[in-house]
């Protein structure tokens, strides 16, 4: 199992700041090939910052980020994307004045245009709603459709690793189920490695192989998904009172 010898993505002692405010205070995280890893924590803990720091925006002021054996800490954002890491970021950031189709084409920026047809087909199979809406502007889609588009756009780059920031945010329970099912399918069928940020801790930890709990810019706990689900402090902080 040489593939597991070195994690696909690793962050070591990463510190990042907004101005002079420390958002990440020395974070160690590993994502191995083929895994689903969930990152949970309260609002403002630094989860989204961690996702963006992988892409160098904001840039890690200390520590190292490695992807597939390569040090990407200082690489420009678009060069990092070229290594086939994709992100569906916080707030989805759909290009709202472009059509669904154009959004997906933009997602394919780092692949060769030749594969476009097959990649589009893959996204449309996963999210048939997008096919129906492909000539509509991104801004006119519903929240759930925008979420699908954000994930679809990320998939268009044929990523080795996909970062999903709160894919369930603001969605109806049924849609949350759909999105999570899609993530599981991508992981199991296409062997896609997934690094997931979630408020919805219960769903996320059930889905994930492993999880990290972030508190105040630091990793407070880690373990397998089921392990974390059983921890009393996790239940108290993130699950009880908010269980579905």
């Amino acid at each position: 199992m040489t593939a597991h010898a070195e994690p696909l993505l690793s962050l070591r002692g990463v510190k990042a700041y907004y101005g002079n405010v420390a958002a990440l205070k020395g974070v160690d995280v590993e994502v191995r090939e083929g895994e689903i890893v969930a990152l949970i924590g309260a609002n403002g803990a630094g989860k989204s910052t961690l996702m963006m720091t992988v892409f160098g925006a904001p840039r890690a002021r200390q520590g190292q980020i490695h992807f597939a054996g390569r040090d990407i800490t200082a690489l420009p954002t678009h060069e990092i994307a070229k290594l086939r890491i994709a992100q569906s970021p916080e707030g989805r950031r759909i290009f709202s004045r472009m059509t669904v189709m154009e959004n997906l084409q933009i997602g394919a920026t780092v692949t060769d245009a030749v594969d476009l047809g097959a990649d589009l087909e893959r996204v449309f199979t996963l999210f048939p709603r997008l096919r129906d809406r492909r000539h509509q502007r991104g801004g006119t889609l519903s929240g759930g459709e925008q979420q699908m588009l954000a994930i679809g756009r990320a998939l268009m780059s044929r990523p080795r690793l996909i970062l999903l920031d709160e894919p369930s945010l603001g969605l109806a329970p049924l849609l949350v189920q759909q999105i999570f099912a899609a993530i599981r399918a991508l992981n199991e069928r296409d062997k896609l490695t997934v690094f997931l940020v979630e408020q919805n801790a219960y769903h996320a930890l059930k889905l994930a192989h492993r999880g990290y709990v972030m508190v105040n810019g630091l990793i407070a706990l880690q373990g397998s998904g089921s392990e974390l689900l059983r921890r009393p402090e996790i239940r108290a902080a993130y699950l009880e009172g908010g269980v579905r």
Binding site: A57, P89, I106, V110
Partner: protein, 304 residues
């Protein structure tokens, strides 16, 4: 009636030149959110480069007018584009993450630099170019007034239509155009999907400068004279055109350009030529008060 049609033709010709410059303002504003005040001077540099290119061609003995025009067009587009690229590289890019006013101040500085550079290098006197394109057509006559469409006007209008069509196609259909629109909407997300944002911004400046250089060449052919100061007035008017059309909107810049050309020409024809600039800038003020987003602009605030 004949007089009016004549003014219409003249106005559209002038408006074409403004429109070509206005595209540069609106494009740069769309992507980096700054007004490139040096853009008018890029237009002026384009006119000078065209003049120099003509003189070089004459010295080389190339005197076929269509061929010479074509070579001059290409040469001045290429060299002016280089100016546009350089200005962005040295005056704006280092300030991209600075406070919002910094690149604006830098742009005004760049405008002064370019003006003085040309004044020093070329002298402050007006430079003439003997008329190269002669002739034209009399469309119709009546009331002792002949409506004329000169060949140079035809060249200007057709070139403008061709460039604007080509450019609209570029923005709407090509990969570069898509990348430019992505950068315009969300720079950070554009970088996340792998678009080289710096390169896209550079290309935006390059394309804007190339279009401005065509306007410079047209101006040179139409009026036959250039000096180091033409960029200021033409630049501010093209900026007015961009605001009138809705800053950030490409069709808006084109329509705004034509409208400003028409307003200026009509005002000169029917009221007083001394106040034509006042008329154009009064429009700027009125638009900013009553229609701040312009004819085709979007409101600044966008819903999530």
């Amino acid at each position: 009636m004949e007089y009016f049609v004549q003014q219409l033709i003249n106005g559209i010709t002038l408006g074409s030149i403004y429109g070509l410059i206005a595209i540069g303002y609106t494009m740069v504003y769309g992507i980096v959110g700054m007004i490139n005040f040096a853009h008018g001077d890029i237009f002026m540099v384009g006119a000078f480069l065209a003049l120099i290119a003509f003189l070089v061609l004459v010295a080389l003995g190339i005197s076929t007018v269509p061929l010479a025009l074509f070579i001059v067009l290409l040469v001045s587009m290429a060299l002016t584009a280089l100016y546009g690229w350089t200005v962005e590289r040295i005056a704006y890019r280092p300030l991209r993450h600075s406070f919002r006013l910094a690149p604006l101040i830098s742009a005004i500085g760049m405008s002064i630099v370019l003006q003085n550079y040309v004044q020093v290098a070329q002298g402050a006197r007006v430079k003439p170019l003997p008329p190269l394109v002669h002739g034209g057509y009399t469309l119709f006559e009546g009331n002792d007034f002949a409506v004329r469409l000169s060949n140079i006007q035809i060249i200007i209008i057709i070139t403008t239509i061709a460039l604007m069509t080509g450019f609209s196609f570029l923005v709407a259909r090509t990969r570069l155009g898509r990348n430019m629109r992505a950068c315009e909407q969300d720079l950070k997300m554009a970088a996340l999907v792998g678009i080289d944002v710096d390169r896209t911004i550079s290309l935006t400046f390059v394309i804007g400068a190339a279009l401005a250089s065509v306007a410079g060449l047209m101006f040179l052919l139409y009026y036959g004279v250039v000096d180091f100061f033409i960029g200021f007035l033409a630049g501010v008017k093209a900026f007015t055109a961009a605001v009138l059309g809705g800053i950030g909107s490409l069709p808006g810049a084109m329509i705004g350009g034509i409208l400003i050309g028409l307003i200026e020409t009509m005002w000169s024809a029917y009221f007083s030529i001394e106040y034509k600039d006042v008329a154009a800038f009064a429009i700027l003020i009125i638009v900013l008060i009553f229609l701040p987003t312009g004819l085709l602009g979007r409101p600044e605030v966008e819903k999530v």
